[in-house]
């Protein structure tokens, strides 16, 4: 059990006929996720996944015949903004955007538009959401995680997979993992994700995986101090990151002394949050 998605969530895949879209549709469906339709302009009327999933030209057409409440976007960056607005207008409540490279000014417009309509965005440039044993709306490898009581929030996809597989090897499971994404602006921030886990009865504690860039970890630390009752552990990476360079993620840069890892470590430690900087220390920190 966990947050945002479960086995009754009905999902439309935007960009279902592309390489990533079709590979991950198969993975998500095999995990038990209800994929009710796909959208791919000019491919409407066809079927994918051995004729099990209908493809439509537009979200509007897909929504007319399905009762979807979520969408996931694999559309390339050039067209992702359009896909995001289309999703926001379609009537789904949750949109997960996997696409990397969406211009930040488009992301702020989309965030504003979705928030005006009460639609939640996760991403962009993220690994999506996995609710172990229930559903997967993202690209995390299905076998890296087992169900459990730890809520995971991560800016980085691959790092969260490795951490969850390390947890799995010690029998520690996850209630939900939310990949919030590595961009400058995220549809769902650390603070908003913490808020969701705080009220989720199935989550007992939270692991936050942060990195260099911005001040969202610092904001999360102060949120933990003032608003959270559940224990939080933080894994923070990027100690060796040089100043002024973008470390892969467009949001991961240290500029004018802002965004360095030491200040993030200090922010968490000063409010009593256990911080680790090595993946292999995570299981002990979660059990201790």
């Amino acid at each position: 059990m966990g947050i945002l998605i479960n086995s009754s969530t009905k999902v439309i895949v935007q960009g279902i006929t592309g390489r990533e879209g079709s590979f991950h549709t198969e993975q998500m469906a095999a995990y038990g996720t209800q994929i009710v339709a796909g959208v791919s302009p000019q491919k409407g009327g066809s079927w994918v996944l051995d004729g099990k999933i209908p493809v439509f030209d537009t979200m509007q057409a897909a929504m007319e015949v399905t009762e979807a409440n979520a969408s996931i976007i694999f559309v390339p960056a050039r067209n992702a903004t359009d896909a995001l607005f289309e999703a926001a207008d379609s009537g789904v409540e949750l949109v997960v955007c996997i696409t990397e490279g969406v211009p930040v000014q488009d992301v702020v417009k989309v965030c504003q538009y979705m928030s005006n309509r009460g639609v939640r965005l996760v991403g962009p440039n993220c690994s999506g959401i996995i609710n172990p044993g229930e559903a997967k709306l993202g690209v995390a490898p299905s076998d890296c995680v087992i169900p459990g009581k730890v809520g995971v929030i991560s800016r980085s996809g691959t790092l969260s997979y490795l951490v969850m597989s390390e947890m799995k090897s010690r029998g520690i499971g996850v209630s939900t993992c939310i990949g919030i994404g590595g961009d400058i602006v995220q549809g769902t921030t650390f603070v908003e994700a913490l808020e969701l886990f705080e009220t989720d009865p199935y989550t007992e504690r939270i692991l936050l995986i942060g990195e260099v860039g911005g001040l969202e970890e610092e904001r999360a630390a102060s949120y933990v101090a003032y608003k959270m009752t559940k224990p939080v552990t933080a894994l923070l990476v990027g100690k060796t990151a040089p100043q002024g360079k973008k470390m892969g993620h467009s949001g991961a840069f240290i500029e004018a002394g802002i965004g360095g890892i030491d200040s993030k470590i200090e922010a968490f430690e000063s409010v009593g949050v256990r911080v680790v900087t090595d993946i292999k220390e995570v299981p002990d920190a979660l059990q201790g």
Partner: protein, 379 residues
């Protein structure tokens, strides 16, 4: 990507923001001619992407055309905070009555653009958009409707901005907002905006940072990339969609995912090694991309070992393995390669590489240890 002062001011002019008379040059003799054209006194400004260049001797006030040439020549042959100076900006020197600082940036927490205004002095502006300057006055901009004139007035009245210049200020801020949107900027600042003793209002200096994600629709702006700032391999890597940063150690890294790459570099150092680079393969890994990456890593003379760590979600281990195999066959390099693969298709990936010279290790931890040992053994 950051623009130089002279580039930023070029855009200011285009968007109706007044700037001092001036020209940029890389030749000291030309500096003298420019000074003769625009009149005295003159300020000579080093064009470098570094904070605090004034303190480092990068800004000098000249009283004669001859002095302008001397200062230009001195600055062009100097290094400012370790950076060579390719160009100097020769501007008319102004007699300043009042200074302001104006910034448009994106607030990460609020997920909105903001306009900030401050009524004096120099400030580290990249920092200002974040929480450090929470006491500065600001307005948040609804990105769907854009900056509104009343918002500029709100800030101006709070700062007691001189009434007779409020109309100019409004047009300057609206110009800055249009520029910010049109260029897909992450940040645009006038630092400072000045009111002179001869009653002019103009942008004395400016900073613009562009959003690299928007490059696909801002192709003309790639001309502004300063290749002089790139280190070994960074240009070549960029062409192949690889996020590569040259560092000073001898353990080359090829990793998928930014977070995993950062943590790998941290752990290499924690185990006593030194990373030679940051390299995130990014999305859409294929043989061509792996070949390009291996070419850069193997030809870095500092490199003693290459560490490949793949934990596959978006990336498929078998694609990486095929690329590595092809690279080993094609390049015939002596540099040892340590490989760890986990996640999607990792069994297949390992199978493809079995029998190759690559050293396959079963865990991430061991991969890092093995790479550090190998580098030390050969060092």
């Amino acid at each position: 990507m950051k623009l130089y002062e002279y580039q930023s001011k070029g855009f200011f002019k285009k968007y109706g923001i007044p700037i001092p008379a001036g020209h940029v040059t890389s030749i000291a003799r030309e500096a003298k001619q420019i000074a003769e054209e625009i009149g005295l006194p003159i300020v000579v400004k080093a064009q470098v992407l570094a904070e605090g260049r004034g303190m480092a001797g990068g800004i000098r006030l000249a009283k004669t055309p001859e002095e302008t040439e001397i200062f230009a020549s001195e600055i062009l042959s100097a290094k400012i905070h370790g950076l060579p100076v390719q160009k100097v900006l020769i501007d008319e020197a102004l007699s300043i009555e009042k200074e302001y600082f104006i910034l448009i940036s994106i607030d990460r927490a609020k997920k909105r653009p903001l306009l900030m205004m401050y009524d004096s002095g120099t400030i580290y502006i990249e920092a200002a958009a974040n929480a450090l300057f929470e006491n500065l006055d600001r307005v948040y901009i609804d990105p769907l409707i854009g900056l509104q004139r009343y918002q500029i007035h709100q800030l101006a009245y709070k700062l007691d901005f001189p009434g007779k210049y409020i109309r100019n200020l409004t047009e300057i801020c609206m110009g800055l907002w249009r520029l910010f949107c049109d260029l897909d900027a992450r940040m645009a600042a006038i630092n400072p905006l000045v009111i002179t003793t001869d009653q002019r209002i103009l942008a004395l200096d400016g900073k613009i940072t562009l959003d690299e994600n928007a490059r696909f629709r801002q192709e003309s702006l790639t001309d502004f990339v300063d290749l002089g700032y790139l280190r070994y391999g960074e240009l070549e890597a960029g062409k192949h969609g690889l996020d590569y940063i040259k560092m000073d150690g001898n353990i080359a890294c090829m990793i998928n995912g930014a977070g995993l790459t950062m943590t790998t570099l941290d752990l290499i150092e924690a185990n006593g090694g030194k990373p030679a680079n940051f390299l995130d393969l990014g999305a859409g890994v294929n043989t061509e991309k792996i070949l390009a990456a291996m070419d850069i890593l193997q030809n870095d003379p500092a490199v003693k070992v290459i560490l490949v760590c793949i934990y596959a979600g978006m990336t498929h281990c078998d694609d990486v393995a095929r690329g590595l195999l092809e690279a080993m066959n094609r390049y015939d390099s002596k540099v040892p390669i340590v490989v760890y693969m986990g996640g999607s298709m990792s069994a297949l990936g390992n199978q493809i590489l079995s029998g190759s010279p690559a050293i396959l290790v079963p865990s991430y931890e061991e991969a890092i240890r093995k790479a550090v040992e190998t580098a030390a053994g050969q060092g």
